[in-house]
C-alpha cells in the first residue's frame, strides 16, 4: 500500500453547511471558520468532506493540494486546529459527531400510541395562572399581553370563571408530580380568587409565586400563612420603580424570612434600564431585567436584544449543548401553562393543546409531542433560521419573536451570509416577506440576484 494524504475534521469541531455557507466551530477554543464558498473546486472538496458516509475524512489528491484556494482553506483549518492532514497507509477512523437519541418518543409514538405515556416524564414545569381582576397595575399594554410575552402576573378572566381546584387536581393526578422541577403560581395571590389548596397538593415541590409587587399585601393572610410552608419562593414583578418603598419592604420581608426571591424589573427602553441600575446600586437585591416589547420600542430591542455575531459565537458552548439544540427548545421544553378556564398550553402564544375539563393528559401530551409547537420548536423548523449555519449555536426562539413578528432576532441575513455592518448587508426582510399566517416566505429570485451581486458568479 502506498501512503495517502487524508484531510479530516477533528471530532471536537462542530460543522454545519447550508447553501454554500460553511461553519466550522472549534468547541475547545471557540474559534471558528464561517465562509460563503464560491470557488467550485473548494465547494466540491468541502461537499466531499461533509458527505455523511465519508465521516469527515477524505483522501486529498495532489491536484487538490496544488489548488491555491483549497490549500489556503486547509491551512486556515490547520491554524485553528479545526482540521488536519495525516499521511497514512489506510484511512483513519474519526467518529464524526452525529448525535444519537436512543429512545425517541416522537418516533415511537407513531408506531405505538401507548408510548405517549412516557412523555409524562418530560413535564418539568407547571405554570398556573390565577384570575387577577383586582390589581394595582395600571399599565394597559402589560395587562393586555404581558402574560403571553414575559409571564407577567396578570390574567383577566373576564368571562371565564376560575376552575375549582378539584378539577385541576383530577387532571394533575396522572402526572409524575415528583419529577416536576418547578410550579409557578402566577397572578394576584393576595386576592380572594386564590386559595391555598394547590399548595397542599404540591407540598413536596418547589413553588414560585409570581405577583405584581404592589399587589403583595405584607400584612394580609397570605403573607402570614405562606411563612408556614416550605419550598416556596417569590418573584416580584415591577413595571416602574416609583414606589421604592414597597420594593424595600418586600426585600426586607424576604430577607428576614430567608425566602429565595427575584425582583423582575420590566424595561422598555435604555432610560428605564439605567434607572433600575441606579436604584439597585444602592441596595442588595436579587434582580433581573426583563425587556418588554410594547410595539413602539423596536430600536431598544434591535440595539440590546438582537444577537450580533459576537453574541452568538462567544457563548462557549459545549458539544452536548449544541446537539441538544438540534432536538429541543430548551426554553420551552417540558413546560405547561394552565389558564383559569382550564385551557392547557405548551406556549401561550399558540393554540391550546388541551383542556383540563374534557381532555386526558395523554391526549394533551400527544398534541405537543407530535408537533413542533413549543417543546420541539428548534431553529431548523422556522424560516429564515432553517437556512442559517448558526441555527444550532444560536440561542433558542423565545416569545418575543411572535410579538415583533420576526423569527430571527439577530443582525444576520442567512440568505446572503452577511452580518449587519459587513459589505453588501441587507436585512433579511429584503429577501422575502413576513406574514402573520405563513411566517417568513423567501423570494428566491431576489436572493439569487443579491448573491450574484455580493459574491459574484465564481
Amino acid at each position: 500500500m502506498s501512503k495517502k494524504k487524508y484531510f479530516y475534521i477533528e471530532q471536537y469541531v462542530y460543522s454545519n453547511f447550508v447553501n454554500n455557507n460553511i461553519l466550522l466551530y472549534n468547541t475547545f477554543t471557540n474559534k471558528f471558520i464561517d465562509v460563503f464558498i464560491t470557488n467550485k473546486e473548494l465547494l466540491n472538496f468541502i461537499e466531499r468532506v461533509l458527505l455523511k458516509d465519508n465521516l469527515r475524512t477524505i483522501d486529498v489528491s495532489q491536484e487538490e493540494l496544488k489548488n491555491v484556494i483549497i490549500a489556503k482553506f486547509i491551512n486556515k483549518c490547520r491554524d485553528l486546529f479545526i482540521a488536519d492532514i495525516i499521511e497514512s497507509d489506510s484511512k483513519p477512523f474519526i467518529m464524526s459527531p452525529i448525535p444519537k437519541l436512543n429512545q425517541n418518543i416522537r418516533e415511537s409514538i407513531k408506531g405505538n400510541s401507548e408510548h405517549v405515556l412516557n412523555a409524562k416524564n418530560m413535564i418539568k414545569e407547571l405554570n398556573y395562572f390565577i384570575d387577577s381582576k383586582k390589581t394595582l397595575c395600571t399599565n394597559i399594554k402589560l395587562k393586555a399581553n404581558g402574560y403571553k410575552q414575559i409571564l407577567f402576573p396578570f390574567y383577566n378572566a373576564e368571562i371565564d370563571k376560575q376552575l375549582e381546584f378539584l378539577t385541576i387536581e383530577k387532571f394533575l393526578f396522572d402526572m409524575n408530580i415528583q419529577n416536576i422541577e418547578k410550579i409557578n403560581i402566577i397572578g394576584n395571590i393576595c386576592s380572594e380568587n386564590y386559595n391555598n389548596e394547590i399548595l397542599v397538593f404540591f407540598k413536596n415541590n418547589f413553588i414560585q409565586f409570581h405577583t405584581y409587587y404592589l399587589d403583595f399585601d405584607l400584612n394580609g393572610t397570605f403573607a402570614t400563612e405562606i411563612l408556614k410552608t416550605k419550598n416556596k419562593s417569590f418573584v416580584f414583578w415591577i413595571d416602574n420603580i416609583i414606589v421604592e418603598d414597597q420594593i424595600l419592604k418586600l426585600n426586607e420581608f424576604v430577607i428576614k424570612n430567608n425566602i429565595y426571591s427575584i425582583f423582575k424589573f420590566i424595561v422598555t427602553n435604555e432610560h428605564e434600564v439605567n434607572q433600575v441600575i441606579e436604584f439597585t446600586n444602592t441596595i442588595t437585591l436579587n434582580y433581573e431585567l426583563i425587556p418588554f416589547f410594547n410595539q413602539t420600542n423596536i430600536d431598544f430591542f434591535e440595539n440590546n436584544i438582537f444577537n450580533t455575531k459576537k453574541d452568538i459565537l462567544n457563548q462557549k458552548l459545549n458539544e452536548r449543548e449544541i446537539f441538544s439544540k438540534m432536538y429541543i427548545n430548551i426554553l420551552n421544553y417540558g413546560k405547561l401553562y394552565f389558564l383559569p378556564n382550564g385551557a392547557i398550553y405548551s406556549n401561550l402564544n399558540i393554540n391550546p393543546i388541551g383542556n383540563i375539563i374534557n381532555d386526558e393528559l395523554s391526549y394533551t401530551l400527544k398534541n405537543e409531542v407530535l408537533n413542533d409547537n413549543a417543546w420541539f420548536k428548534t431553529r431548523d423548523t422556522i424560516l429564515p433560521c432553517k437556512n442559517c449555519i448558526y441555527q444550532f449555536i444560536c440561542p433558542p426562539t423565545t416569545n418575543y419573536e411572535k410579538f415583533i413578528n420576526k423569527n430571527n432576532l439577530c443582525h444576520y441575513n442567512p440568505y446572503i451570509a452577511k452580518w449587519q455592518g459587513e459589505e453588501g448587508y441587507v436585512p433579511v426582510e429584503k429577501c422575502g416577506t413576513y406574514t402573520k399566517e405563513k411566517g417568513f416566505v423567501v423570494n428566491k429570485r431576489k436572493v439569487n440576484t443579491l448573491n450574484k451581486q455580493i459574491w459574484g458568479e465564481e
Binding site: 479530516y8 477533528e10 471530532q11 471536537y12 475547545f28 477554543t29 455523511k52 458516509d53 465521516l55 490547520r78 486546529f81 488536519d84 495525516i86 497514512s88 497507509d89 489506510s90 484511512k91 483513519p92 477512523f93 474519526i94 467518529m95 459527531p97 452525529i98 448525535p99 444519537k100 437519541l101 436512543n102 429512545q103 425517541n104 418518543i105 401507548e114 405515556l117 412516557n118 409524562k120 416524564n121 418530560m122 418539568k124 409524575n176 459545549n318 458539544e319 452536548r320 449543548e321 446537539f323 441538544s324 432536538y327 429541543i328 430548551i330 421544553y333 417540558g334 395523554s362
Partner: protein, 495 residues
C-alpha cells in the same frame, strides 16, 4: 484517576481522553510531550534533563515546523483539559434504595413463571441435563397454580398503585420451563385468571412462551387464540441441532420441523407476526449457518446466545465467529449478533454524542452516578419465579441469589433487605471499579459473572497499561469498516 490512553491500529495512532471522551488521531509528538509531562510531574529534579531529551530526540525525526505545529496543537488540547486525568471515583458511587426496588416492582414489565421443571427433551448442553453443575438436584416439579394466582394478586396491587408510571403499556406474562407445554393445565388456568384481572383493571397483558415445539401441534390453537408471542428454540438445521435430542438420544429435529410447518399452514399470519426463534451456539453449529437456516427456511431472524460456560463448564463451548465483514452476508449477521450490541455500547461510552432520551438532551450536562458493574436493578428487567417458588431477577441466575419467594401461599419480597444485599455487593466491588478502565463499559453481571461460589469476586478488570488493547480491538475493525459506525449508530437501539 483515569489517564489518557494512546493506542495504535495497524496503520494509525490514536488517543482517548477519559476527561473529554474523544478519540482523536494522535501524533508521535503528542505522546512524547505527554510522557515528558508525566515525567516532569513525577520527577521535578529531572526537568532539565527531560527538556534536553525533548529537543534532541524529536528534532531528528520531525522537521522544525512539524514539531512546532504539533507542540502548539498539544498545548491547545492541554489547555482544553484533554490530557487532564479524570477522577472517576464518584462515577460508580450509586446505590439502590428500597424505594427504587419498589418502583421497579410497581412498573414490572415481565413476570415469568417456570411452569414446570419437566422436559420432554434431554439436550446435551442443558444445565438441567447431564452437565448440570450449579443447580440443585432436579425435582421435576410443577409450578403450583394457586401460588401463581397469589403472585398475580400481589402484583395487581403493585401495578395499580400510585407508583405505576406505565399504566396502559403491555405487561408480559412469560411461561418458561422445562417445557411449559408439559404443564398445559397451568398455562390455561393462569391465562384465564389474568383475563379476569384485565377486565377488572386498566392493565394490559401479553403472553409469551419459550417452547421446544415438540407438543406444538397439540396446543397451537390455544396459543394462537390467546395471541401468545412464541419463541421456538432451534439450533439450526438437523446437523446444527444435534444436541437437542429426546431422552433416547433420538434427534428432535424432524418432529419440531413438522410442527412448525403445521403452524405455518394453519396460522400463517400468526406465524409471521408472533413467532420468533432462538438458538444456543455451541461447538457443533455456527452463528451464520443458524441465521441463514431460519432466514431461508422461515424468513425469520434468530436470537442466538452462546452456551454458558458458567453453567456447563468447558464442554460444548462455542468457538466464536470471525466475521468477514467484506461479505455482505457476514455483515448482516454481525449486525444481528451480540457483537454489534457491544460495539454500540463501546461507541456510546467512548463518545459524547449519545443521549438516552429527550430528558437527557434537556439535562445535557448532568453528571450521572451509576451503580457499579452491569448488574440490573432487581425487577427492572423481569421477575422470574422458579417451580419451587423462588423469586429471581431473571432465569439465568442461580437460586442462591433469590430475592424473595412464595411459600405456603405467602409471598415474601422484602425490598429493604434486597437493597441491603445488593448494596453490600456494590460497596465491595466498587473499590475495584474505581480504578478500572472498563468503568463505564463493564456490562458484567455481579450475580451471573462476578460473584464466585465461595463468595469471592472475580471480573475482567482492565488496568491502564491494558486499556489500549481494548481500544485497539474495536478500532482495528471499525477502521477497516467505517460503515459499521453509521449502521450501528443509526440502527441499534436498546430498550
Amino acid at each position: 484517576m483515569h489517564k489518557t490512553t494512546f493506542f495504535s491500529t495497524e496503520y494509525n495512532k490514536y488517543m482517548f481522553s477519559f476527561n473529554k471522551k474523544y478519540i482523536l488521531l494522535s501524533h508521535p509528538v503528542f505522546e512524547y510531550l505527554f510522557n515528558s509531562d508525566q515525567d516532569k510531574k513525577n520527577d521535578l529534579d529531572n526537568q532539565l534533563n527531560t527538556l534536553t531529551k525533548e529537543r534532541n530526540i524529536n528534532r531528528e525525526i520531525y522537521s522544525n515546523s512539524e514539531y512546532d505545529y504539533y507542540k502548539r496543537k498539544y498545548e491547545m488540547l492541554k489547555k482544553a483539559d484533554y490530557f487532564l486525568e479524570k477522577n472517576c471515583d464518584s462515577f460508580v458511587d450509586g446505590l439502590i434504595s428500597h424505594q427504587d426496588i419498589n418502583f421497579e416492582l410497581c412498573n414490572l414489565r415481565a413476570l415469568v413463571f417456570e411452569v414446570t421443571e419437566r422436559c420432554n427433551l434431554s439436550c446435551a448442553y442443558c444445565f438441567y441435563g447431564d452437565h448440570y453443575k450449579q443447580y440443585e438436584e432436579r425435582h421435576d416439579k410443577d409450578f403450583n397454580i394457586e401460588d401463581a394466582k397469589i403472585v398475580l394478586d400481589y402484583m395487581k396491587e403493585k401495578w395499580t398503585s400510585e407508583y405505576n408510571e406505565s399504566i396502559g403499556k403491555e405487561i408480559y406474562i412469560g411461561f418458561y420451563g422445562g417445557e411449559p407445554l408439559l404443564n398445559f393445565d397451568f398455562v390455561k388456568e393462569l391465562v384465564n385468571y389474568i383475563k379476569t384481572i384485565q377486565q377488572q383493571t386498566k392493565l394490559k397483558f401479553r403472553f409469551n412462551m419459550t417452547t421446544n415445539a415438540v407438543l406444538l401441534d397439540k396446543y397451537m390453537d390455544f396459543l394462537v387464540n390467546n395471541n401468545f408471542s412464541l419463541t421456538i428454540s432451534l439450533d439450526g438445521d438437523k446437523k446444527n441441532n444435534c444436541y437437542r435430542t429426546f431422552p433416547n438420544k433420538k434427534s428432535s429435529f424432524d418432529v419440531v420441523l413438522k410442527n412448525i410447518k403445521a403452524l405455518i399452514k394453519t396460522h400463517s399470519a400468526y406465524f409471521k407476526e408472533s413467532v420468533m426463534f432462538n438458538a444456543v451456539l455451541h461447538d457443533k453449529n455456527d452463528l451464520i449457518d443458524v441465521q441463514n437456516f431460519t432466514r431461508n427456511k422461515f424468513n425469520k431472524s434468530i436470537r442466538c446466545t452462546e452456551v454458558n460456560p458458567l453453567l456447563v463448564g468447558n464442554s460444548f463451548l462455542y468457538k466464536g465467529r470471525f466475521f468477514n465483514l467484506d461479505k455482505s452476508e457476514d455483515m448482516h449477521c454481525f449486525l444481528e449478533s451480540s457483537d454489534a450490541n457491544n460495539y454500540n455500547l463501546f461507541l456510546q461510552n467512548y463518545s459524547k454524542f449519545h443521549f438516552e432520551d429527550f430528558n437527557d438532551l434537556y439535562n445535557y450536562d448532568l453528571i450521572k452516578v451509576f451503580i457499579p458493574t452491569g448488574t440490573c436493578v432487581p425487577f427492572s428487567r423481569r421477575m422470574f419465579i422458579n417451580a419451587h417458588g423462588k423469586i429471581l431477577p431473571c432465569e439465568t441466575i442461580g437460586h442462591e441469589f433469590s430475592i424473595g419467594d412464595i411459600v405456603n401461599g405467602e409471598i415474601n419480597i422484602d425490598t429493604k433487605s434486597i437493597a441491603d444485599k445488593y448494596n453490600s455487593y456494590f460497596i465491595k466491588i466498587r473499590k475495584r471499579c474505581k480504578t478500572c478502565y472498563k468503568i463505564n463499559f463493564c456490562g458484567q453481571c455481579l450475580l451471573l459473572q462476578i460473584i464466585k461460589d465461595d463468595g469471592t469476586m472475580k471480573c475482567n478488570k482492565i488496568e491502564h497499561d491494558m486499556h489500549h488493547k481494548l481500544l485497539e480491538q474495536y478500532y482495528s475493525i471499525i477502521e477497516k469498516h467505517p460503515e459499521l459506525y453509521l449502521k450501528i449508530w443509526e440502527e441499534i437501539h436498546y430498550v
